[in-house]
Symmetry: C2
Subunit: 345 residues, 2 copies
DNA sequence: ACGCTTTCCGGAAACGTTTTAGTATGGCAA
DNA sequence: TTGCCATACTAAAACGTTTCCGGAAAGCGT
């Protein structure tokens, strides 16, 4: 006989009243409520989550599904840790807890999510690293679990998602390079099955065409999103017959590898080749020459994610006016020295 | 009337039998068990976690508490994501789920953990970033929650922990430098309240004395664990009257900043100054000259953590022979060019 | 035919909480 | 007085599951 029953007996009060007092229900005398709260504090009572979840059918837990694949671990640069800060700050206001669910890399993400959903351990989900077609989205829609996807997708009809402004970034980078007289602009990107790779390269193509520059597939260098990938991209670039005068990197870390390869070839970024990176990360600042890239606030993104999610949850929607179902998250240009190389007179 | 009851009715069988069939209890006919499993699969039934937790008093969830402070986000280099891979691989064998609990950075970690424990949402805990004295440990001991700490601590009497072999690393680094004739060896470390800073510097001191070299406090440069810290360490070092000929960096990332400062001063690491870093991280390989440092497998550490934890849990201990309660996790030297500078004839 | 064990299953209690429905009390108006 | 409403409480049901207990049926030896 532990838990609320003990607390009730200690106060010589029924457990129903204790429960209502703790949950801030109106029909309880203010005097008694004070006594209850005091006693709970004193005895260190906190409601058992299983009991309350069972009764209410709600767990007060928001799931954040991430993958812990080898690639993610090496490249994502604490992206999630940064985002969780913002998530927490919003969720904790509503006494919601954030549950990071790292999908085992030997398990199918879809199956993993299915099990989690069926067990009813979360009230809502945030999924990340969405694929072009993603079963998980259909699953969540069917199960009627509120969710928001970090990354756009074509699955599941019209669902809520937030994604980075790849189009804007690509356009900005291309515009900037073209303004400096560049016509042969390479791009280093992951393969097309990664959403990012597809969207980014497509935006790059459109931007080029807007400037009347023909899209040349040989300038699209498909490499891993890593320093090694950057090194390899540099290598591939040097082997082209007609060498590009500028290159856009989808992953910031590629810059380290690219610089190294250029260094080996006696090519100095910023002087002989214009380089623009994508997402800023702290250590990029230490590159020489400093990298022109794009900045975003991970924390603010987390806040936006949380608020968007809450807007889709009936119990919380009142506080969060339903904005757009789909949000494009802007990034800000951080000018550096790496794209100083200009072909203009 | 959902859940197991519905399943039972569909099979025209009592719910007790269904439950026993699903949970692999012996006293159920193999024929019926097959029927039950088939029906469960077909109807997509998965036991509600709240119900089962409430009844069993166990949640099948292992909590991993991490901090998402700004500093952690920028410096920890996906340490946790790497470790979770190993954790998962062990835990999933026992149908245990891993719950990452990122402590909001505006909340006291101790209070946060206390609430989580009181709500009975986890069966066991892994805590990280332990302090020299850490309230959380006393809390877990008192609450009788099985746990293992990543990082040693003096709190809570004798509890289970795993920590990196700072002593071994410090000794190896000092030995190596001394063998090359260095006598004035600096060290860049965080402050003493960080466990790591205290232990590492202490081991460094002992190693020096073992070689008959007097410990010189002015050679201990206290800086942030970041590239900026490395830059600053280089700066401080240059201001010393009697300049060191070698330096040990506690954080790998410091090397980037240090190199930059040395570069500015016209000092070439590996030729004019011997540098040894600590924990290897992938992008360190791209430094020039390549950094001598120490390697560990994050995944294996995760496996060790999980197995150690399970050994302390009565329900699982049988499979995991109780080894040492405290483990020192070894690191392996990765020779590079940065400490090539030798004072020997 | 009888008793005994084994095998399998059904009924019901229990886990800790929230919430609904009902009840006692007192104040107030008629 | 009676009736009525508001207040603050109690009692009990319900959430979905596991597990204990008992019992029916079947097998087996005597």
């Amino acid at each position: 006989m532990k838990g609320i029953r003990q607390l009730a007996k200690h106060l010589d009060i029924s457990i129903g009243t204790v429960s209502r007092a703790l949950n801030g229900r109106p029909d309880v005398n203010e005097e008694t409520r004070k006594r209850v709260l005091a006693a709970a504090e004193e005895l260190g009572y906190v409601a058992n989550q299983s009991g309350r979840s069972l009764r209410q059918g709600t767990t007060n837990v928001i799931g954040l599904m991430i993958e812990s694949s080898k690639e993610t671990v090496e490249n994502s640069d604490n992206f999630f840790l940064g985002v969780t800060g913002g998530l927490q700050s919003v969720l904790s206001r509503h006494k919601l807890d954030l549950l990071m669910l790292p999908c085992p890399n030997d398990e199918d993400p879809h199956e993993y999510l299915k099990r989690m959903v069926a067990r009813r351990v979360v009230d809502a989900m945030i999924i990340s690293a969405t694929q072009r077609v993603d079963q998980r989205i259909d699953l969540l829609v069917k199960a009627k679990i509120p969710f928001v996807a970090l990354g756009r997708s074509t699955s599941g009809g019209s669902h809520t998602w937030i994604d980075l402004d790849f189009e804007g970034v690509a356009a900005c980078a291309v515009d900037r390079l073209v303004a400096k007289g560049h016509r042969r602009i390479a791009i280093a990107a992951p393969s097309n099955d990664i959403n990012l790779g597809y969207i980014f390269v497509d935006a790059y193509r459109q931007s080029l065409e807007r400037h009347g520059i023909a899209y040349d597939p040989s300038l699209v260098i498909r490499v891993k999103s890593s320093e090694q990938g950057g090194y390899q991209a540099g290598h591939e670039m040097l082997r082209l017959d007609s060498k590009p005068t500028a290159i856009i990197l989808i992953y910031e870390l590629m810059a380290i590898g690219l610089y190294r390869r250029m260094n080996e070839a006696g090519i100095i970024p910023g002087r002989d080749l214009a380089v623009i990176g994508f997402r800023e990360e702290p250590r990029g600042k230490f590159l020489q020459p400093s990298l022109t890239c794009f900045r975003m606030s991970l924390r603010d993104l987390g806040v936006e994610l949380a608020e968007t999610l809450l807007a889709t949850m009936p119990a919380y929607a009142e506080h969060y006016p339903k904005g757009a179902r789909n949000t494009i998250w802007p990034l800000e240009l951080v000018p550096g020295e790496s794209d100083a190389f200009s072909l203009n007179a």
